[in-house]
């Protein structure tokens, strides 16, 4: 039983990591219908910037809390600037181009960001310092570390905050208007360019937070960390229904749980015939099955066809 509970916790933590990143994908998709493949790279840059700031400040004898705050602020600011310029330079000129063009640009951007990070921070793995105490809480024989509890909490808070933003605020109304029809929104006095910019800036800030949380959990930062993460988070977003914030959360958690239970139990249940290397196969099998019966994802709504 403690093993089962541990697998559930593993899945929830892994799922929350996916969810945090998936929220960024879904936000941009919901408004622009664009899959921003460079989002995983923003997460990586957020973690890298935080690491550099921490390394710079650690010797100076500041309290841990202060260092954490400053590194969080700075990495959010860097990511926000990056997100803004990304939209401005790479996506805005292509807004009315065929859909394939911005998609390919996004893939190109992610390669550019990876290469830049490699040139700037090097090819090595960097150790991400322990910012929180590494104490773990024991629940009925299962272990969960404090960082992991924070990750689950942060993911939920992120989703809640975004839901309130989109559904309760003036900016959120403008976002929904732009999502529905950019030109009509513009005619109604919504500055769709600035709304889209804000979406990117916001998504990038969340990515920075996600990057720091993920690095704190694994204790490792690497210029390639965004690639696989981005892919998994994208899968999670599609699973939950891309464009839907609750869907991103649900998809992430589900993917995390499937992976962890899959890896943990396939071997024993199949009597050693299938091993833990089939965990990705199961995750994608579930994805395919969901998409066959609900093509727009679990919580996906009918997306109005854009002209």
């Amino acid at each position: 039983m403690d093993i089962f509970l541990q697998q559930i916790i593993n899945g929830l933590v892994q799922g929350s990591v996916y969810s945090m990143v998936a929220l960024g994908y879904t936000m941009v998709y919901g408004i622009l219908g664009l899959i921003n493949f460079a989002h995983g790279e923003i997460v990586m840059i957020g973690a890298m910037v935080a690491l550099s700031v921490i390394q710079l400040l650690t010797g100076a004898g500041f309290p841990i809390f202060f260092i954490l705050l400053i590194s969080l602020m700075l990495s959010m600011i860097v990511c926000m600037i990056l997100g803004y310029s990304m939209e401005r330079i790479a996506y805005r000129p292509l807004r009315n181009a065929p859909r394939l063009a911005p998609l390919i640009t996004a893939i190109g951007l992610s390669i550019v960001l990876q290469t830049l990070a490699m040139m700037f921070w090097g090819r090595e793995y960097h150790s991400f310092p322990l910012l929180f105490t590494n104490d773990s809480v024991h629940i009925a024989g299962a272990v969960i570390t404090e960082v992991q509890i924070i990750i689950i909490t942060v993911a939920l808070v992120m989703m809640g905050g975004l839901l309130i933003l989109v559904h309760r605020t003036r900016l959120g109304r403008a976002m929904r208007a732009v999502a529905e029809n950019p030109s009509a929104a513009a005619l109604m006095g919504v500055n769709s360019n600035s709304v889209i910019s804000i979406t990117f800036v916001l998504g990038s800030a969340l990515a920075a937070i996600a990057g720091i949380m993920i690095s704190a959990n694994y204790g490792i930062v690497h210029y390639l960390m965004g690639a696989l993460l981005g892919l998994k988070a994208f899968t999670a977003a599609v699973l939950g229904g891309i464009g839907n914030l609750r869907g991103a959360m649900l998809g992430g958690l589900l993917l995390g749980l499937i992976e962890s239970l899959g890896a943990g139990y396939i071997g024993d249940l199949s009597g050693g015939f299938l091993g833990s290397h089939y965990q990705d196969v199961f995750a994608f099998f579930v994805l395919i099955a969901v998409l066959i019966f609900r093509p727009s994802g679990l919580l996906g709504e009918r997306v109005a066809e854009r002209a």
Partner: protein, 397 residues
């Protein structure tokens, strides 16, 4: 959209960046630059990007040092001064990319190749080199199958996993007394092969393999697999894979409260492992074919020069790359030719006193003799436990 030129700008930007990134590749020399020197191209292939980029760069550094040393010595072959030139390629530790890179090196008419780093890339590439008659010396491919295809051009300067897996398995069962062992491998030719040899030796030593789990060489989260292993209560966990997975695996293992001993092959014996895994890595075991660096004939000197030149410690295989180049050059000098077809027979019967060991090849292209050393992390540093020479390996069952 009215401004028609703007969609081009991202493409131009990417072009600019990629050309910047390509800057560290060696340029083809103009004939006039070297006068009448004989220019000999030596290819090198290793992952220079991706999860194992730090190891790939280390290989490139070792190879580069050997080539620069050879150039300053002013080696003469067949009466002409030779200028060696390094063509370093990035195989991304990916078998598919490795074949592309191999073809690229063949097309560039290299006289020989130092590489690849991984067994999974060296094996598919070896066919391309063999088809084109180009000598390949891998500094670090340890999978048994690498020299198993029977190619005449395939060599390595490191003992293989049949020996390494056996030593590790014997050590785990006999010295550490492990009775219940869990094995994880990363599904690469190296990780899978080493795990297989380890399991064979461990079972022969009376241990029970309670779990065999799998991961990939790109994964970072092993919580699920480790939790499943935890339920089987092993005394020792063996991981066939590289340090890039070893580090997070060790950390997650300790976070989950798994107290079993942890053991890896040569892929784990790096300073990065101790640096990144920190306190969690205390007590971890690993092995490396060959004797410890400070016991190598030219180890201390090489290590000093390497650090002065590249401002970082040797990661793993750099000394073996250095030797691989020098063995190749020694064969060329003996044959008085840089043509692979001419110096290949000399390579086969060569004896070379390298910085790692005395190098001689058997008929398959494997290193003759070849010791294996076991290491453990004690107080944050790799400490050599014992070196087991080849006779001892073959005499145990």
């Amino acid at each position: 959209m009215l401004h028609t030129h703007s969609p081009l700008s991202p493409a131009l930007f990417i072009l600019l960046i990629t050309s910047l990134a390509a800057c560290n590749k060696p340029e083809t020399p103009t004939a006039s630059g070297y006068g009448r020197d004989l220019v000999v191209k030596i290819g090198a292939a290793a992952p220079l990007t991706g999860a194992q980029a730090h190891l790939g760069k280390d290989n490139e550094n070792g190879t580069r040092m050997a080539i620069e040393d050879a150039n300053t010595q002013g080696i003469m072959i067949a009466g002409r001064k030779v200028k060696f030139e390094l063509l370093s390629e990035d195989d991304q530790a990916d078998p598919k990319t490795a074949t592309v890179v191999a073809q690229k090196l063949v097309d560039a008419k290299v006289s020989g190749v130092i590489g690849h780093l991984n067994s999974g890339t060296s094996i598919p590439a070896s066919k391309i080199y063999s088809d084109n008659g180009i000598v390949q010396i891998s500094p670090s491919a340890t999978a048994v199958g690498y020299t198993g295809s029977g190619f005449k051009t395939t060599y390595r300067v490191m003992a293989n996993d049949a020996q390494q897996g056996k030593v590790l398995g014997n050590y785990a069962t006999q010295m550490l007394g492990a009775k219940k062992i869990a094995v994880i491998d990363d599904r690469t030719a190296y990780g899978e092969g080493l795990a297989r040899e380890f399991i064979k030796a461990a079972q022969a030593g009376g241990a029970q393999i309670v779990a065999h789990e799998y991961t990939t060489d790109r994964a970072v989260d092993f919580a699920a697999v480790l939790t499943s292993i935890k339920g089987k209560r092993p005394e020792l966990i063996f991981f066939g894979g590289m340090d890039s997975q070893g580090v997070p695996m060790i950390k997650q293992m300790r976070a989950l409260g798994l107290t079993a001993k942890f053991m890896m092959g040569d892929g784990g014996y790096t300073p990065k492992l101790t640096e990144l895994a920190g306190a969690a890595a205390e007590g971890v075991y690993a092995s490396l074919p060959g004797v410890p660096l400070d016991k190598m004939p030219g180890g201390a000197d090489f290590s000093k020069r390497y650090e002065a030149k590249f401002h970082q410690p040797i990661q793993l295989y750099a000394p073996y790359c250095y030797d691989a180049v020098n063995v190749m050059i020694a064969a060329m000098r003996k044959a008085a030719s840089t043509d692979p077809a001419k110096y290949l027979p000399e390579l086969a019967k060569l004896t070379h006193n390298g910085i790692t060991a005395k190098i001689e090849f058997d008929e398959k292209g494997d290193l003759k003799g070849g010791a294996i050393t076991l290491y453990q992390i004690q107080k944050g540093k790799w400490q050599a436990l014992q070196t087991i020479d080849n006779d001892a390996i073959t005499s145990t069952r």
